[in-house]
């Protein structure tokens, strides 16, 4: 008997953080303009020592202004999607649940676009205007989860296959609405099609990073307080109730927080698929299925996956760029099929 201890949990997270650090260094080094590790180390050292005058202009231009913000965004988006995926898998008792597969990302995208369309017609202060897109994405995500949840029920029980089908159909329905909306739009909104494939290249204001960071910590923190309840919820709602889980409360907390995470991620990066599916699966294989370990390791793993995928997206066809969502889908979709077939076997 080897129950989980705080020490073991922290060690596991530390090991993953080391990997994340390596991936971040790789992501800083590679790109349209390669940076030597020596120059990078020297510049970082000067940044630490606050010796502004010694920092090369390349560093400021490429790393500080372009790559680091993008990496930071990748970390937050990856962690959010991965925690959201883990939560949906527990909430819906379906190991194949993922914000993208269930159409939740599409729903969030539709919400975000509606918010963008609505924004000019409302007279809002700039702060509220900046929050309108994430809010729209959150509402879109929440509404889609609810719709898919009811579509996936058969005789009062969640049916795994029906749920996935419901998600796929909902996603294609929402995509059609998005296409329709976009064809009626002109100007900068047309650039949205790239964003909808999942894209981290859009520069954001500094305040948005703060908003994302705080939102991520609040929502994933709320989910983490339910970690041991989620372990029991996997066995079924009735069984969890008999073991002392306040099922309706846990469901509500996880539902709102996971929708919020999806909404946040989609509002800044579009629909990056399969991260919330593949990363939790890999972490389960390595660390087991206890959510007290799974949630934090999946968060770091998601960050690693998205930063790495984005580095590939920036470099494989340089100087052109792929959408990062295309990279994750190329890896994720075959793995999804594999997991589905293994489950049905």
């Amino acid at each position: 008997m080897r129950p989980l201890t705080l020490r073991r949990l922290l060690l596991q997270c530390f090991a993953l953080l080391l990997i994340l650090f390596v991936v971040v260094v790789i992501a800083i080094k590679f790109g349209a303009v390669p940076v030597s590790l020596y120059a990078l180390g020297r510049d970082l050292w000067n940044v630490l020592l606050h010796q502004r005058t010694n920092i090369s202009s390349d560093y400021v231009l490429i790393i500080q202004n372009i790559r680091l913000p993008r990496i930071l965004l990748g970390i937050i988006v990856g962690a959010s999607l991965s925690v959201a995926g883990t939560s949906f898998q527990a909430l819906l008792r379906n190991p194949l649940a993922d914000p993208y597969v269930l159409g939740v990302s599409s729903g969030a995208g539709l919400g975000a676009i509606l918010a963008l369309i609505l924004e000019p017609h409302l007279t809002l202060s700039p702060v509220f205007a900046a929050l309108l897109t994430p809010l729209g994405a959150f509402l879109g995500a929440a509404a889609t989860v609810a719709a898919v949840y009811f579509l996936g029920r058969r005789e009062g029980q969640i049916d795994s296959t029906t749920l996935l089908l419901g998600g796929v159909i909902t996603a294609s329905f929402i995509s059609a609405i998005i296409m329709f909306l976009m064809s009626t739009l002109t100007g900068n909104l047309r650039g949205l099609s790239f964003w909808l494939m999942g894209d981290l290249s859009t520069p954001l204001q500094k305040s948005v990073y703060w908003f994302l960071g705080i939102g991520f910590i609040a929502a994933s923190g709320a989910i983490y307080t339910t970690a041991s309840d989620l372990n029991l919820l996997l066995a079924g709602e009735k069984e969890a109730m008999h073991l002392g889980v306040d099922v309706p409360r846990i469901r509500l907390v996880v539902y709102i927080a996971a929708s919020l995470l999806t909404g946040l991620a989609v509002s800044v990066s579009g629909a990056i698929g399969y991260v919330g599916l593949i990363v939790p699966h890999v972490m389960r294989l390595i660390f087991g299925s206890d959510h007290r370990t799974l949630l934090p390791t999946a968060a770091i793993g998601g960050a690693i996956a998205v930063v790495f995928a984005d580095t590939l997206a920036r470099t494989v066809v340089a100087p052109n760029e792929l959408a990062v969502g295309a990279v994750t889908a190329v890896v994720g979709a075959p793995l999804f099929i594999y997991l589905l077939r293994r489950r049905l076997a």
Binding site: P3, V245, R292
Partner: protein, 284 residues
């Protein structure tokens, strides 16, 4: 005050504890309807019984007699339409899920796992309701879980995967998880359903031993007439949503009554253990 009177009081207290009513089901009824405007599809008429610590109560009856509904009412999963159920003086349905899980353990027939778990992880789930907010299991939790596995003779299963053990072994691990809850009341719905005869006897022997040793009150839903007669201290006989009789098996097992309830010819005789034994007369 003399030491003698203190001793006498202690004895009186012990006697009171042994005879206390732990579970009191008082005129409990229930109605189930798919649509509130329609007549109910199923009703449970007012039912009452009481149980003491260490007692095994069998809820007995044919299919659709309301056995499982009665058990769900006792577990607090359903709220009664009228009447009340008291466990040590508290109304079970109004307890929070956490408090209820500290006092009532429900042994499932089967536990479906979405992801693989080892037996010890599964048993530790029983400690959930006793943990603190972030719930890292304490050393006490581990000791209690180990004891629970030992009590059902499943210590050697501890490190096995739940999806790689036999049905009888799984049932014992599920029972161990319920014991890890350290409940006052142990509820079992058709626990012997998927078990072979040796595993059935093994489970019921374990239940009788545990009920005596840990002072659990055990309630078992079953339609196995002979197992109920052999192991139960009290039988609650149900038919079509009505509670017909409550009492020790010897008072309940009368040929005419059982023939009428189970709709089949049978004979009742006294077994070597002093408990009634039923033979169903098939083909007569």
């Amino acid at each position: 005050m003399s030491p003698g009177s203190s001793h006498a009081r202690h004895l009186a207290e012990a006697g009171r504890l042994a005879n206390e009513i732990r579970l009191s089901v008082e005129q409990v009824s229930y109605a189930y309807s798919a649509n509130p405007a329609q007549a109910p599809l199923f009703t449970l008429e007012a039912t009452s019984f009481q149980a003491r610590p260490g007692e095994i109560v069998a809820i007995l009856g044919p299919n659709a007699s309301g056995k499982s509904t009665l058990l769900k009412l006792v577990s607090g999963e359903l709220a009664p339409l009228s009447g009340r159920i008291l466990l040590n003086g508290f109304v079970t349905h109004s307890l929070t899920p956490r408090t209820r899980a500290q006092r009532i353990a429900v042994v499932q027939q089967e536990s479906r796992l979405l992801f693989p778990a080892r037996a010890w992880e599964f048993v530790l789930q029983g400690r959930h309701a006793h943990g603190r907010s972030l719930r890292f299991e304490s050393e006490d939790d581990v000791i209690i879980a180990k004891n629970a596995l030992a009590q059902v003779g499943a210590t050697d299963l501890s490190d096995r995967w739940m999806d790689q053990i036999s049905g009888g072994e799984k049932q014992r691990v599920i029972l161990a998880r319920a014991l890890a809850q350290q409940p006052l009341l142990l509820l079992l719905d058709e626990p012997t359903l998927h078990l072979d005869i040796a595993a059935q006897i093994g489970l019921l022997d374990a239940l009788r031993r545990l009920a005596a040793a840990n002072r659990y009150t055990v309630i078992v839903v079953t339609h196995e007439l002979n197992l109920a007669a052999e192991y139960a201290d009290q039988v609650v006989l149900m038919q079509r949503g009505r509670c017909l009789r409550v009492g020790p098996p010897i008072n309940i097992y009368q040929r005419e009554l059982l023939e009428q309830v189970f709709q089949t010819p049978l004979t009742v005789e006294l077994g070597s253990s002093g408990r009634p034994r039923v033979t169903v007369l098939a083909g007569t």
